[in-house]
Structures are given as structure tokens and as C-alpha cells.
Amino acid sequence: MPLRVKKATCTGCKLCQLACSGWHNGAFNPEKARLKVSHKYDKSGIQISISYCNQCGKCVDTCQVEAISLNGSWVLVDHSKCIGCKTCLETCPLDAVHYDGKDKSVICNLCEGSPRCVEWCPKGIIYLKEKKSLTGRAANE
């Protein structure tokens, strides 16, 4: 059940980042959130970009010490194995890998199935895409 975002309708409130950091870090700090909402203002107006993990598994494939795994639904990082080489950060195509103060890789684990960002998004812009059913149609589409 990967995360999905309707980017065009995001209002940029960052409640998702606040919920993420509050839940995982015990304090509010959008810099430490596992997803990132960035604002850019230019002559064409306000542009909002969101980077988040879609569980593509590229970090799993490239991790040199097998510290990262996919448990079927989300990514797990074993900090006892992580050596902080940042290969995952460099190869992530979505800029969704973060490093915490201990120099260890931090990747979204979907809050183990109940993502707080989804729960707190006031406009339903972040959601979990259901896995495809046997008939090939997504359950929520």
C-alpha cells in the first residue's frame, strides 16, 4: 500500500510533516519528517513540491550492508547494521531518505501501516493506494 499524493491540490500547510516528526521524534520539527513539503515562490506563483517514499525498493537493492529491507508493505532500516554510507540517500529517486543526528538512514515505514501523515492531512491529499486486486483494479479507484 504505497503512499500517494495529489500534488496539484496540496495547500502546503505541512501538517503531514508535523504529524510525522511529532510521532516519530517526540518533538515538532519538519526538517526531521520522513516526507518533505517545499515551497518555491517565483514570478509564476507558488509552487509546492512534495518528496515522499513510495516503497520502490531501490534503497533495498543498493544498500551495501543489507541494512534495508522491504517487509512486503513498507521499508525497514536496521540501524544496528547501517554504517551511514549514504548510498541509499544518493540513489533514492524521490529524495525521500533522511539522515538523523546519529548519521543513520531514516526512511518512511508508513508508521507500520497507519501513516500519521495520511491521518492528519486535512484535505485528503496524501492517501494510501490500495494494492491491486486479482481483477487488476485498484481497490480505491
Binding site: T9, C13, K14, L15, F28, S38, K40, P122
Partner: protein, 602 residues
């Protein structure tokens, strides 16, 4: 652990000295943050009689205690100073992300005094604070200033407060902008920044904001978000935003039209929410705001976040302008040049009426929107007719006459609600500390749009007092006006962020304390009951359509109501808080002693 950090950055632009000082935790208990804390910091060792544009004036930026937390709509930043427009204390709040970013940089407040030798930008982050020369930004609009400041500090995610050319040139109704789409409009804070050679303030933060018990905080805030309307997809502030008020005000007959000569506008449907939605591109939110009131519009040639209702009213019907594209254009110009759209619309309307009535020929009549745009372009640089308009309606009417039609209180031009259609709004305008302001008590909701008779003063003095106290507490806690939150709910939110076990009664008491503190400032700046007056037109002319049609709003009844207001407030007959009242409100002895000495001498 608490979301109040207790730290302030003190900046003296004259000497270049920058230091961090401690804000006593007691101040956050007494005044909370934002507006209240701003007044307290401003008044610390401050002479209310100073020239607002002198280096001695201070600019105090205060985040709310809840800024940076997950509480919706709680991150608005307040800026307090002595206003060059009115001579009163003034504060304004600005949305966007600056307030939260200041907390992530490790500060609740910044206090700026002095005057820099050259045009400067103050930058701070958790590791440094510095004054950067930006002489190349002289005369540059706020939009471009913001982009260039972000490049200068090398961080696209830095948050910037940008002053426009109007502020640089000390136009008394100059505003400042952040993130292109939010403004701190009223009171002339841009001019105070201009007088200090301060072009911009930028902040970047990456520190944590803590709360006493995260699990409890998330549980309580989530419950309140779900039950208090902020995530309701049908919330009209989200679906429409403030333009929805055009229809309400038209129906109530209090939509300012042709410089408040009328209260209804035949072409209102060309500029109402339905019309604005036709050119809406997107919805935008301020930091942590689940409501998302912001409308991003694209006119034929200009784009803007807005226009908000006040801009529509003052730059639309009040000029007999029924073109939404022109409103968008004036709005975009004002934002970029750094002009308050309310005051700008009002001064244009005054010039139009003076010309039409043959009292003075400013060469512009109602509906001349092309000429209006041309004047707006010149106000910021004080050129030609723009130099006249830049004086504001009070000074302009003192020079050319027509004071009956100069629509201001204490020098601040009136916003978009004609009090003849909602008499409590008149008391609200007359007693608002910063002058003609609609934010301190929105009595219209209880009157024209509620159950109370809008055309009587009976019970209105008490209504306005109660609303003002609640609003001052709400704003001081940093919550946006667009969340109609109760004091009890505020108390719960303050408990899970600041800490403690607060009650709604305590919250209202804080609001009353802050309101009185601001009145103390104004009294010591030379104001009394004779300044709590509305423009003559509102008492001497009746509206000709809608519910207020032919209902006179006599001056004498209003003064009786104001006497009642002072009595309820515990003030003397001259509208001055008594030292005993200040003692009851637990305002510190140091203020009371100074104040007692002042009123005994005067």
C-alpha cells in the same frame, strides 16, 4: 518541556550589536505570545511619546507560543510598534510560515531598534544572526526582494518579510509581505522598517519545538481539529474564503460604496465570491493551517493571492469599480509596492468624492479605475498625485477639507463594514487601540448576521468589551481570526503546548489585560475619549438602501454608549484605565507606577 522557548534576539541597527536575551516565562503566563507578548516587550523601557519614525522606535516580532506545533492556524506572527499612521501602539499579524520558522530558529521574539547606515537585511538561523547590506534592493518591490533575499542567504526555504518601496519612502500606510502572498497590512509597519533602513528580515530554522506530553498533545489537537470545523470540507472559509462576505455585506446594506456614501452596490455580483472563483487557480494555506483560506487568482494581466474581502470592498464598490480584473491589478500592485489595500482604496475614494463634489479637483472620479491604478503606482514613490494620496485621508482632509468624508478613526482608514448597518462595529472601530480596525471585535456577526438588533446601542458596549477581550486572547495565542474558536478550546490547546491546566475564564482575563495594556500605551501617547470618534458622515447622513435605509445613527447615542463602555471597562470618564483596574488585572507594578505618575501630572 514547553513550546515557549523564552528567547529573544535583540538587534540594535545603529551599533550593529546583536544579542540574545531571556524572556521571563512569567510573561508568557501573563500575556501569552504574539500580540500580547509583543505589547509587553515593546513597552519595556519605552517612551510612548517618541516619534514613530525615529531610531528610538522599536519593531517587535513575536511568534505565538503554539507556533511550530501541530495546532491548526496557530503560526501567525505579530509585529508591534508605535504607528506612524496613528501615533498609537499598533500591531499586525502576518500569516505564511515566518512565525513557525522563527521558533525553529530557536526564538520566540526579535526586538529591533536603531537605524542602519545603509539599506540592510537582518538574517538569523540557529547558528548565526547578521545584518547584511542590501543597497542594491533600493526601490525594489516585495516580490523580487523576497526572491533576491533567498538567493543572498543561499537558502530557498528561508522565510522572508519584505518591505516595498512604499515603506522605504515612509508612506504611513505601507505594509510588508511574506512569501509573495501574505501581508501585514495595517498601521504602517513598512514605514517604520523604512525609517530604520531595514529592507527585509529573513529566518531559517531546523530546531525542535517541544510540548509537555507529545502523545496527549496529538490526541487533544486531533480531537479538536475534528470537532471544531477546521477540517470541514464545507467550511466557507475554505470553499470561498473572505470574498463570501461581499454577498453578506450587500444583503445587510453595509458594503462601503462610493466612499461610504452608500451601503449597497448594484454591480456587486461582478466582484463577489462567485465572480472571483471563475478566475481562481488554487487554494493555499499558511503554516499548520488545516482550513486553507487562501485563494490564488489570475486576472487578465495580474495574479495575486486574494483579493480578500477588505480589498474587494475598498478597491471595488468603494471606488464604484465593478471590474474584478482591476481589483486583482490594484491588489497585486499594492502587495508588490507595499501598500495597505484598505487605506489605499479609502484615500482614492476620498479623492474621487472631493473631485465630484467640486471641493478640490484631484482629477479623478468614481469609476476612473485606470487613473486609480496610475495613482497607486505613484503613491509608493510619493510622486505627483501619488504624493498627495500618500498622506492618507486624515492628513489629506486637514489640507483640503472634506473631513466629514475622510473615513478614518485615529488616522487609520476604515475597513469594509459600514457601522450604520451594524452599530456595534462603530463602538469597535472607535475603541480599537490601533484606530479604524475591524479585527478587535467583529460585532457584525452577532448583529447584522446574528440575533441582535443591529440598529441600537443597547447592550453593545458589553458585547464589544467581551468580544475584544476574547479576540485579544485568541490573537495573542496566535490563532487566526478565521477559526471561530472558543476561549475554552484555546485553554485546552494552551495547556497541551505551553503546559499547565488553563481555563476559558483565564484566557479571557489575559485578553482583557492585554487590551488594557495597549490602552495604557495610548493614554501615555496622548490619546483620550475625544479620539474615540467616528467620521461625521456616519452620524450625519443616512444610508439610502438595504436594512439600514433611513435609520439615523445619532452621535449623542454613541457617546452615551461609549460612556457605558468605559464604565464596563473600569476606566474613568476620559476613557483612561484607572490604576486600580490595572492592579485588578495583575499588570506589573512598574507599569502602574509610571502610569499613575503620568495621569496625576496630566
Amino acid at each position: 518541556m514547553s513550546s515557549f522557548l523564552g528567547k529573544m534576539l535583540n538587534v540594535d541597527l545603529t551599533t550593529g550589536k546583536i544579542e540574545t536575551t531571556i524572556i521571563p516565562r512569567e510573561w508568557a503566563r501573563q500575556y501569552t505570545g504574539q500580540k500580547g507578548l509583543g505589547a509587553r516587550i515593546l513597552m519595556d523601557s519605552f517612551d510612548p511619546l517618541i516619534d514613530p519614525l525615529s531610531p528610538e522606535n522599536k519593531i517587535v516580532l513575536t511568534a505565538s507560543v503554539m507556533a511550530g506545533t501541530i495546532v491548526s492556524s496557530s503560526a501567525k506572527l505579530a509585529i508591534s510598534t508605535k504607528s506612524p499612521q496613528t501615533g498609537t501602539i499598533t500591531d499586525g499579524s502576518i500569516g505564511g510560515h515566518f512565525g513557525a520558522e522563527l521558533k525553529y530558529a530557536g526564538f520566540d521574539a526579535i526586538c529591533i531598534s536603531g537605524k542602519a547606515d545603509n539599506l540592510s537585511c537582518l538574517y538569523l538561523d540557529p547558528e548565526k544572526a547578521e545584518i547584511l547590506p542590501v543597497s542594491d534592493l533600493k526601490g525594489v518591490g516585495t516580490f523580487e526582494t523576497e526572491i533576491r533575499i533567498k538567493k543572498l542567504v543561499g537558502d530557498s526555504q528561508a522565510k522572508v518579510l519584505a518591505n516595498g518601496p512604499a515603506g522605504e519612502n515612509r508612506v504611513p500606510f505601507s505594509c510588508i509581505s511574506t512569501e509573495r502572498y501574505r501581508q501585514l497590512g495595517r498601521g504602517g509597519i513598512g514605514a517604520v522598517m523604512g525609517s530604520k533602513n531595514l529592507k527585509a528580515i529573513a529566518v531559517r530554522g531546523w530546531l525542535e519545538v517541544e510540548v509537555p506530553d507529545m502523545e496527549e498533545c496529538l490526541r487533544v489537537v486531533k480531537e479538536i481539529h475534528e470537532t471544531d470545523g477546521v477540517i470541514d470540507p464545507e467550511n466557507e472559509i475554505y470553499t470561498d474564503g473572505t470574498p463570501i462576505l461581499v454577498d453578506f455585506c450587500q444583503e445587510s446594506g453595509l458594503l462601503p460604496t462610493a466612499n461610504f456614501q452608500e451601503g449597497t452596490f448594484d454591480s456587486f455580483e461582478n466582484v463577489n465570491t462567485a465572480a472571483m472563483k471563475e478566475i481562481r487557480q488554487a487554494k493555499k494555506a499558511c503554516y499548520s493551517c488545516a482550513i486553507a483560506c487562501g485563494n490564488y487568482l489570475k486576472g487578465k494581466q495580474h495574479e495575486v493571492e486574494g483579493p480578500e474581502y477588505e480589498t474587494i470592498a475598498l478597491c471595488g464598490p468603494n471606488l464604484r469599480n465593478d471590474s474584478k480584473d482591476r481589483i486583482v491589478e490594484i491588489n497585486a500592485l499594492c502587495d508588490d509596492l507595499g501598500l495597505d489595500t484598505i487605506s489605499t482604496g479609502s484615500v482614492l475614494a476620498y479623492m474621487m468624492e472631493m473631485t465630484e463634489k467640486g471641493l478640490y479637483d484631484f482629477g479623478i472620479r468614481f469609476g476612473d479605475t485606470e487613473k486609480a491604478v496610475n495613482i497607486v503606482r505613484h503613491i509608493a514613490f510619493k510622486e505627483g498625485l501619488g504624493a498627495e494620496a500618500a498622506m492618507g485621508v486624515r492628513a489629506l482632509s486637514e489640507k483640503y477639507g472634506g473631513q466629514e468624508m475622510a473615513m478614518h478613526v485615529k488616522g487609520m482608514e476604515l475597513p469594509g463594514y459600514d457601522p450604520r448597518g451594524s452599530w456595534g462595529m462603530g463602538i469597535s472601530y472607535a475603541t480599537a487601540p490601533r484606530g479604524g480596525c475591524h479585527m478587535t471585535a467583529y460585532a457584525i456577526e452577532a448583529e447584522a448576521w446574528g440575533d441582535l438588533d443591529p440598529f441600537t446601542y443597547e447592550g453593545k458596549a458589553k458585547l464589544v468589551c467581551d468580544l475584544q477581550n476574547a479576540q485579544f486572547a485568541k490573537f495573542s495565542m496566535g490563532v487566526c481570526d478565521f477559526w471561530p474558536i472558543s476561549s475554552e478550546t484555546l485553554a485546552r490547546l494552551y495547556s497541551v503546548t505551553f503546559g499547565g491546566d488553563w481555563t476559558g475564564t483565564e484566557v479571557d482575563f489575559i485578553g482583557e489585560r492585554i487590551f488594557n495594556l495597549q490602552r495604557v500605551f495610548n493614554v501615555m501617547a496622548g490619546f483620550d475619549h475625544t479620539d474615540d470618534r467616528l467620521p461625521g458622515r456616519l452620524h450625519n447622513e443616512n444610508l439610502k438602501a438595504g436594512p439600514p435605509k433611513d435609520v439615523p445613527m445619532p452621535y449623542e447615542s454613541m457617546t452615551v454608549s461609549l460612556d457605558e463602555y468605559y464604565q464596563i471597562r473600569g476606566w474613568d470618564s476620559q476613557g483612561r484605565p484607572t490604576p486600580e483596574k490595572l492592579k485588578d488585572l495583575q499588570i506589573e507594578d512598574v507599569f502602574i507606577d509610571q502610569y499613575r505618575a503620568y495621569i496625576e501630572l496630566s
